[in-house]
Symmetry: C2
């Protein structure tokens, strides 16, 4: 693999654990150099496509301050320090929605931005989801829960109602995996 | 819509046009306040799922320095200042691969990170793609082009070979739109 070589790295902003920005002087395999390539380190997060026994999917509608819009999303959240993705997925599903699931399948890890980094997303498919407790939300989480049928999710996905790029990727992948699973 | 109110915003790092980081003091509809909510402004970009007359898809394999891996991606790039997404999509497809397409369909705009922002992705489906010139690449673009059949793309997508979250979302959406189109 022809990787880039980092000749020098300077941390410009450290707001850990949320954000750390560095500037790198990089050397490319073809001899070209870029003196100011920016890297943005952000926490890893997990998102869960949770399906219940009636083949309904738990989605949440929530204001997202990044784009400043209401957004239709999957239950998701940052990994705690030292936490593995599967544990974070279970915890976030339980905290945000009060659900547990009987079967879990890992659909992979994905980088958010090819140039800057911007964290890593872990996608999970959870089957046999059922309500076990009331949601335990943080004060910043103003959430509406919706059980959608698979057809409703597919319609929302194809109809432009899912505007979060990460949710778009997870929903499409989970729907296809479910279709392929006997 | 219950939006958050920004009481104060401080720019912490300005590396425009690539990156601008701010810290916001925000007031939530439930009275809760967050004194240090970080916003990361990054450029918008366009990515293109380009299909030729033989129903093959142009994908590119490229080292991405953010995650430090070789990545299977769609032709994509940042919008120039003042450029509209459709123009950028046509330009990037031509520059990166030398292709033009006869029919274009816009599959929507998607925010990259719900909390921080981190830019906006525009997804395009381009049909009737054909080689018109040699690629006109920048010195930093070390790219291998691959024509993949729709089945090969779907296999790569479901098999975990597409590890860029944005590419994951675009590929899944484009494949479904193509399946739904008579």
């Amino acid at each position: 693999m022809q990787t880039w070589r980092v000749l020098n790295r300077t941390v410009l902003l450290d707001a850990s654990p949320w954000l750390r920005v560095s500037c790198e002087h990089v050397h490319l395999p073809n001899g070209h150099e870029i003196p100011d390539f920016y890297r943005v380190e952000m926490p890893e997060w997990a998102q869960v496509f949770a399906v219940d026994e009636h083949q309904r999917v738990m989605m949440i509608e929530q204001y997202k301050h990044g784009p400043g819009v209401m957004s239709l999303e999957l239950p998701a959240g940052y990994l705690d320090a030292g936490e593995d993705p599967a544990t974070a997925a279970r915890r976030e599903l339980l905290e945000e929605t009060g659900l547990e699931a009987s079967a879990w399948r890992y659909l992979g890890r994905y980088f958010v931005d090819g140039n800057r980094g911007c964290g890593t997303a872990h996608i999970f498919l959870a089957l046999g989801a059922r309500q076990v407790i009331a949601p335990q939300r943080e004060a910043s989480e103003l959430i509406e829960q919706h059980w959608l049928t698979l057809v409703e999710v597919r319609t929302a996905w194809l109809g432009g109602r899912i505007t979060n790029l990460g949710t778009l990727g997870a929903v499409g992948l989970a729907l296809a995996v479910l279709e392929d699973t006997p």
